[in-house]
């Protein structure tokens, strides 16, 4: 994708911007419909079948299909450009790009291949073994990263690619390929933000702020039987110890009587992140 997009001829930034009477959209009458092109490719392959090998026929057909798809992509982009890449038609289109993009990014994170894809585009990242382990092993962490990456990629794609008229069917890449490329460009910044949040979280844990889960709230319950309090405390401590590090910290503070907001302050994260971690833990424990 990188090579093909790099070889695109430079375009006027305002080429596809709406509201201009003289914008230079490719003329519809010179864009053949996909079915005709595919039928031509089939006919050509059939007539050449004596000379072309199976692999060559397949390659020719794939090339024709790709061209037909790209032409349809161009028509669709032209229609959306007229509406200013806004409104429900754009929302549907963006939604389908997102529906395609986030499972792809999720799969690349799980397999650990996203690092290579980024490096191939000159965005080299050096995740630690621990970071790789978290992302390959924890679905919710992967999902957060994938959703944020695709949201950023979508913003970039709309503003810097579609509105700027930087994609064209003759560049050799389909819209979906180009969009995934935009997501890969967005990924490094998203990953760095995630890494910073993770490090803050771990630093807070390492500082020993959470070493004492013996909650005032539990032991100070008026009228409690000391034996029950001791047994309850033992059960709580045992449960906390069985939790993953990231969850244990949040849970200890909440058990200690803190609100999610206060716990988030102490851990240097957001209320939503605390809530999410505890929710996911509960889901895993009581599916």
């Amino acid at each position: 994708m990188g090579a093909s997009s790099a070889s695109q001829p430079p375009r006027e930034p305002a080429r596809l911007k709406p509201g201009k009477e003289d914008y230079d959209l490719p003329r519809r009458d010179v864009v053949p419909v996909g079915e005709e092109l595919l039928a031509d490719a089939d006919a050509a392959a059939a007539s050449e079948s004596g000379w072309l090998g199976g692999q060559e026929r397949d390659a020719a057909r794939r090339a024709a299909e790709s061209l037909a798809r790209r032409m349809q992509d161009q028509e669709h982009v032209n229609d959306l450009a007229v509406a200013g890449f806004a409104g429900p038609p754009y929302e549907i289109f963006a939604g389908e790009l997102a529906a395609y993009g986030y499972p792809v990014i999720l799969a690349w994170l799980r397999r650990g291949t996203i690092w290579k894809h980024c490096a191939d585009r000159g965005r080299v990242l050096y995740p630690t073994d621990r970071e790789r382990e978290i992302l390959e092993g924890q679905f919710e962490e992967r999902l957060d990263l994938a959703l944020e990456t695709v949201a950023e990629g979508l913003k970039f794609f709309r503003e810097r690619v579609l509105c700027a008229g930087r994609w064209s069917f003759d560049g050799g890449a389909t819209l979906t390929t180009y969009f995934i490329g935009a997501c890969l460009l967005a990924f490094p910044n998203v990953f760095r933000r995630w890494r910073t949040a993770e490090r803050k979280w771990n630093l807070a844990l390492a500082a020993g702020m959470l070493a004492s889960p013996e909650g005032r709230t539990l032991s100070d319950l008026p009228g409690s039987d000391p034996a029950d309090v001791a047994a309850g405390r033992g059960a709580v401590i045992s449960e906390l110890r069985s939790m993953p590090d990231g969850v244990m910290g949040a849970a200890a503070l909440v058990v200690d009587g803190m609100s999610f907001a206060d716990a988030a302050d102490r851990l240097g994260t957001t209320e939503r992140a605390i809530e999410g971690r505890l929710y996911r833990y509960r889901q895993r424990r009581n599916p």
């Binding site: 429900p88 549907i92 959703l147 709309r158 389909t174």
Partner: protein, 115 residues
């Protein structure tokens, strides 16, 4: 990557997810344009059910939306591989992405968030 079916029809799962996504967006930022498209999408969803649906009001809108979706399926989003991936996506996650992206995508007539 194989081609889509000749009629470039949209999968029922994708159509339902697409509709649910717009419902979520509409709950966050209501817009008249989206309401119209949503009504058309619902009509299409129902038309795919067992009972045939007679569309009277909004017939033009439903036909236009159906054509738009068919055109969309002829783009690179409509290849067999892309369709399989899109069919696995959930409305909640797609809507979350669009909401994060909403400053750029919001419809011009969008009203403030409902209380």
């Amino acid at each position: 990557m194989n081609d889509s079916p000749p009629d470039a029809c949209i999968d029922a799962m994708i159509l339902n997810r697409m509709t649910d996504t717009l419902v979520i967006l509409q709950a966050k930022h209501a817009s008249k344009d989206r309401a119209r498209v949503l009504a058309a999408l619902r009509a299409l969803c129902e038309a795919r059910g067992a009972a045939p649906l007679v569309i009277v009001e909004g017939e033009t809108e439903a036909a236009a939306v159906e054509k738009y979706l068919a055109d969309l399926e002829r783009t690179s989003l409509g290849t067999t591989g892309a369709r399989v991936v899109r069919a696995g996506a959930t409305a909640r996650r797609v809507a979350e992405i669009l909401i994060r992206h909403e400053q750029a995508a919001v419809s011009p007539d969008a009203s403030p968030k409902r209380p």
